[in-house]
Symmetry: C2
Subunit: 321 residues, 2 copies
């Protein structure tokens, strides 16, 4: 990935240099490019090798020094993976995440999980530790090493993009679950007015779902290998399920009779609660593309909520006149 968009990072770096009375040089820019142009957890030696391909005269000391600067300005994050080497990963516009490390082959898998974070936070707070970016490193042995075979080489993807993909998948999962709800409610509802409302909302829901699916596809087309990248975001399906309302209270003797006003109310409730959930969920992450996906999804739901609200108002005034 040589022609990557690294304008923002370069700008950030140059700004950092300017502010600190440091000078921008060809070497520093080359190192920045080498670092940003490669995913994964690169050691100084790794980056040195990359830079050397472009200019044999660069010294490894400069790489050490430049990586310190990149860390200082928030473009890189220094991590130790237990093999004695200091490694660096992309930080700018990449979510803070955790690592699973195979102690045999040193393979590293990155992930985020709000659920894990919650439990961990609880424990850490008991000891008076602040939430200041606690990073979890899980050491274990991977499937391949256990079976004594080598890991298939996978193209490495930008963590930020993988996160965006998973956020879209999560949103899509919510959308399809909700679509199912609206459809089944429409099918079961014996009240024609209510049935019509659910059917209409389901149609709208479907259109929005298609929109999300298209966005996901576009993303996967842009970044090749993205669909094969392992999951990065672990979301709790059960949490999403909790957002779906139960029709128990409205079911009498196995029969569902929901008038249009009640159906609209239910749909509005659902959209609003889901929007709130996703907004809060998004806040747990650093500023990243994935977070933006979640925020946009929350907004989309609020807009849907507003549109249902308008429909309800229109119906009210129609019946009043």
């Amino acid at each position: 990935m040589p022609g990557k968009n690294i304008h923002q990072e370069r700008e950030l770096f140059h700004e950092y240099l300017r502010r600190n009375g440091l000078k921008k040089t060809r070497q520093k820019d080359m190192i920045l490019e080498a670092f940003l142009g490669n995913e994964g957890h690169l050691s100084v030696e790794d980056i040195y090798a990359l830079v050397k391909k472009k200019d044999r005269k660069v010294g490894i000391v400069t790489v050490f020094r430049t990586l310190k600067s990149l860390t200082a300005c928030g473009i890189a994050r220094e991590i130790g993976l237990g093999d004695g080497l200091t490694r660096f990963e992309h930080r700018y516009h990449h979510p803070l995440h955790h690592h699973i490390i195979c102690t045999r082959c040193n393979k590293v898998i990155e992930f985020v999980s709000p659920e894990l974070e919650r439990v961990q936070q609880e424990i850490v707070l008991k000891y008076g530790f602040q939430q200041a970016n606690p990073r979890i490193q899980v050491y274990g042995v991977c499937q391949e090493c256990l079976e004594q075979r080598s890991t298939p080489e996978r193209p490495k993807c930008d963590t930020g993009k993988v996160f965006a993909r998973d956020a879209l998948r999560m949103a899509l999962s919510m959308r399809s679950r909700r679509l199912e709800f609206y459809r089944s409610a429409a099918a079961r509802n014996l009240d024609p007015g209510g049935r019509e409302v659910f059917a209409k909302v389901a149609l709208e829901e479907e259109a929005l779902a298609l929109q999300l699916a298209a966005e996901l596809e576009a993303l996967q087309r842009r970044e090749k290998g993205l669909d094969e990248a392992p999951a990065f975001l672990h979301f709790d399906e059960a949490e999403l399920e909790k957002l779906i309302p139960s029709l128990q209270a409205d079911t009498v003797a196995g029969e569902l009779r929901l008038g249009a006003p009640r159906a609209l109310e239910l749909a509005m409730q659902l959209e609003e609660r889901a929007a709130g959930f996703f907004r809060q969920y998004a806040e747990k992450f650093d500023e990243t593309e994935g977070r933006q996906v979640l925020e946009r999804f929350a907004e989309q739901q609020l807009r849907h909520h507003a549109s249902i609200h308008d429909t309800a108002q229109a119906m009210k005034s129609a019946s009043a006149s």
Copy 2:
């Protein structure tokens, strides 16, 4: 702690040497003693310094080599805490645990948490990693460092003992919660027979609770500073609460009327379920004193279950004759 009981570890080590055609020497024994005589996460340099106090002629290379052997035979565990040094911690009869590390002052806190483990396990399994001892290291900044003050020096305790203490505390917590249940059930129950049963079981429960409390006190007396050591085992109080039966089903119009047979049945159910829970819970840990505490507690509950069962049988045959 110079006069510590390290017979078992020494035996294990010598056995390992014998099996591998290695020789036991004064130096190796001294290093073993220095390692076991100090809690915490010692570096090679730390242990070297300790050994040197006894014999100035020992070389640091021997310490490196001996610690490799101690790791190989399961007495020590090698850990990296992110400061670039290889550190060693006690392993034999110490539960596998996780670390919270302050990235500023390098303070280390150890803990276990079945709940955290569950969530983590779930994630790790998704990636095909086996449960082969995944270790979590959480990096953060401790309260003291945030407030720019130094950490009060605490006597370090044997992790195994702290775990035993926490297991006892957990058992005690279960016991007192259950005592409360039996007492309140006795007080509320309008049936004299059932009331008597609950009162009797509560008395037995109290005796067992006192026994546990005595055990905890004895442990704390043996190991000074143990009561001040931070929590090591994080158990979920809510899990224990789930074991307590609800009397809702037996409450009619706010009134509780439980005959002796039903009261006995409830008590037996409670003891049995709690025994099962603690037996399973104990299995999650390596062979340690803490695990034994949990197992003994499970057995104690089974015995209590059996004794209640006998009472029930006696009552039955009495009423039959």
